[in-house]
Symmetry: C2
Subunit: 477 residues, 2 copies
């Protein structure tokens, strides 16, 4: 089909130019558009519908585990942001400052939240008094602003959407437990909903969040072998509590500091989905976050075909997110349009199918076509969507395993990264100097110290001194 | 019960001091808290859960009528805000200006959106080309900022949450139809979900939105006789389209301007719920947006009572939003706590109830108590919640009717407003000068020209010249 070809040819091959492929997909699949302000993106209906599906399913997990949603102001007075020393150092260089309200110059600058630890801490200091007030398990869905120099849709933008959880606990054990529980929710969500494998582990001190005692992370691997930090969960201990005076009276009537956590995932996850599952025909969406799970394409515009297509749509809408494209565009155009948009299943129906009481189902993940009786559709489609999910997860896991290498010395390390980019597993002495040297030599950063440790050798890949941890390294977004 | 009394006494009587009653309810029902930035509120879990229920149910209505959600940036460059002359005049005095990003002074000031017409217009100019691209029916849920001098939780805050719909249509007729369709969705939502009667009508030219040809509104009446604008729907005609160059090629290959609308409701609706339904025991929530619809209060802490209470909770959670308070506080404390929080139904269970296989259901709206067999609960409770909804709507409608007066001259007008505040229906010549004179004399503004017109007399209540419309007037929030 001529139109078909032409449509698809307008995307760059990912093997030729991965960044351009990414930009093409984001644009052609109608996910985002540029606004007149550099670095700010418009999330278009199709992109936003993916975010809504992520949000809804993740919010359920938060609520099931006892978390409550709140809304904090978007503004933070400069004096409040400065209360925790490490925190302000980390964020001050990248915040947007409001200095005028209406016609008036403000007496104190206020920043647009880059993250809301300081606001939650101030609030917690006001509302937590007794052990009966604990734990506080709050979350909010909002947008935050970080004044970025170079930006890319979903991956790094001046404003982005996210959720930020902020909790306060009576003891250090409880806050650590919460931090890890959330990391597990994130990791399971990636696998079970996004069909995306992740490595779970802890960040090194150098890569830790500003003000945290521990930062845990889930790291995923993109098609081009670059890593993407996909979610983080921070344990603050009582550092913020001491800076903000968040104290409670325990059962023995003693004044104690609370222990806190914070954790977040962002619209970056959509970038991850694109770069983990996508191919040279465009987006490939995991069924559980696909705004359209089944696209019905009538092969001809005959009345009886359209009528049946409409009837199928009505029936299927009870069991999945289905759309019928009955526009007067060619079937070929529609095929490539919905391939570009990553719709998991295409349902083709033509005059011959009508005669045989059947339809053709085409899978986006592997291109397979099967013929199915119309009577079996409501049974087959949910099963097929699950099968596609499992296959996407399997493929992505295999790709990630295939692109995970071991390095025993810096020569191997650099050679591997340059020739076959991916995760590099290598031993590390625990010294920041080695971490910095590795970054300087190879451009790779430590992604995490994975929970699942392996003993690859006894010595650090960089300095040769005794090794403390196995670390995942990689060049990252 | 001593604890009961003591708890309730801490709210001011609404008849004594309505504004203080409002502030007390908002605080004691845990709806909001203050942040360190004047005019910005923290929406606490209980308040935010109400907003989530509003959002979910209203979003369904938008989607059913073909609207799609998007996300626009929160920042608007000054030059973009200035593109439509009336619009910038209306909003410039009340916006927050970002002038620094990180360490750098920005070349152009950017404002935090007070509303997003300009952003949607710019985007529409980029994506609308042909009649095939129309209509565009977009909506977004976000927060906006208006630099207010005096603020009150939910009613007027520097930052507030809302939805803003922005649509583009081929013809003037279609955009007018959309504007009215949305007003209807708002009005029905208020009645069917919030149990709140509203007057539907059009704003006078003086009260119109900056840049609109028509502004339609729903107006509701609070307990204290003051009016609250509860939602607006604007028809822009092609004014913005001309300012932003939003054109499409019609079927005859002619270039045409689009016709646009915008419309919104905000967290103000929560303020309306408080002031329409609340009483001297606190909040009274309409069941369909009550985060807790049924609160189970065990009368004693006996094991068998708690066990049965837990069992009931599990069963009822399948049909309503139910909570069990099994804390060691007294039953009396719990009674007034959940009255304060406006929970529609209290389910009391004690040892005697266990013996008789029954519970007591107490209604928040009228205080009635009924004894119900445990076997009938899953049937009775949904019916009871509907009954409470209907009763709240009926009561509020009666109150509104009772507080709606007619004035034939300015003496009557002022006397009524001063002695029995409420809506005043009065005839108007259509002249802005009279509208201004009325405001100066009485403090009342024109709330709307209602769709349901009555001919109260032939002359304007203010100047005595021939009347054009009947208008609802009132002092307003």
């Amino acid at each position: 089909m001529a139109t078909d070809k032409k449509f698809v040819e307008s995307i760059t091959d990912m093997e030729k130019d991965f960044p351009q492929w990414y930009t093409d997909v984001v644009k052609k699949a109608d996910l985002t558009a540029y606004s007149s302000l550099k670095g700010c993106m418009i999330i278009r209906p199709y992109g936003y519908a993916i975010w809504e599906l992520i949000q809804k399913q993740m919010d359920e997990k938060f609520k099931e585990t006892g978390h409550e949603n709140v809304y904090m102001p978007m503004f933070i007075p400069e004096s409040l942001l400065q209360k925790e020393k490490d925190h302000i150092e980390g964020f001050a260089p990248e915040v947007a400052w409001v200095t005028q309200g209406g016609d008036k110059q403000l007496e104190e600058r206020i920043c647009v939240r880059p993250t809301s630890e300081t606001l939650f801490c101030e609030h917690y200091a006001n509302i937590i008094h007794s052990y009966r007030d604990l734990p506080k398990l709050y979350n909010q869905w909002c947008s935050v602003v970080r004044w970025e120099k170079t930006t890319r849709p979903f991956l790094r933008t001046t404003e982005f959407l996210w959720q930020e959880g902020h909790t306060a606990h009576a003891t250090a054990e409880e806050s650590l437990e919460e931090t890890l529980k959330i990391l597990d929710i994130y990791a399971n969500f990636c696998r079970d909903i996004l069909a995306m494998p992740v490595i779970e582990g802890e960040k090194t001190e150098k890569e830790r969040f500003a003000g945290a005692e521990h930062t845990f992370t889930i790291e995923s691997l993109m098609h081009d072998g670059k890593a993407l930090q996909s979610g983080t969960s921070h344990n603050f201990g009582d550092g913020f509590a001491k800076a903000f005076g968040i104290q409670y009276t325990d059962k023995d009537n003693q004044l104690q500091y609370v222990h806190q956590t914070s954790w977040g995932v962002t619209t970056r996850l959509i970038g991850a989905i694109i770069m983990v599952h996508g191919d040279n025909s465009g987006l490939v969406l995991p069924p559980r976050i696909a705004p359209i799970q089944v696209i019905i394409v009538p092969i001809t515009q005959q009345d009886d075909v359209l009528e049946k297509a409409n009837e199928l749509k009505t029936n299927l809408s009870k069991i999945c997110r289905v759309k019928l494209d009955d526009s007067d565009k060619t079937a070929g155009w529609k095929f490539s349009e919905y391939e570009m948009k990553g719709v998991p299943v295409r349902l083709e129906i033509g005059p011959k199918d009508l005669d045989n009481n059947q339809v053709v189902l085409a899978r986006r993940d592997n291109g397979e076509k099967i013929t199915v009786s119309m009577d079996e559709l409501t049974e087959k489609i949910p099963a097929l969507l699950d099968e596609i999910h499992e296959n996407l997860l399997k493929q992505a896991t295999e790709r990630q395993n295939h692109k995970t290498y071991v390095a025993h010395n810096m020569d191997e390390f650099e050679k591997t990264l340059n020739e076959t980019p991916g995760f590099i597993k290598a031993m590390w002495c625990g010294d920041k100097a080695c971490e910095e040297a590795i970054k300087e030599k190879s451009g790779a950063t430590s992604r995490c110290i994975p929970f699942e440790q392996e003993n690859l050798s006894d010595v650090c890949v960089c300095c040769g001194k005794p090794a403390k941890h196995m670390v995942y390294w990689g060049r990252a977004y």
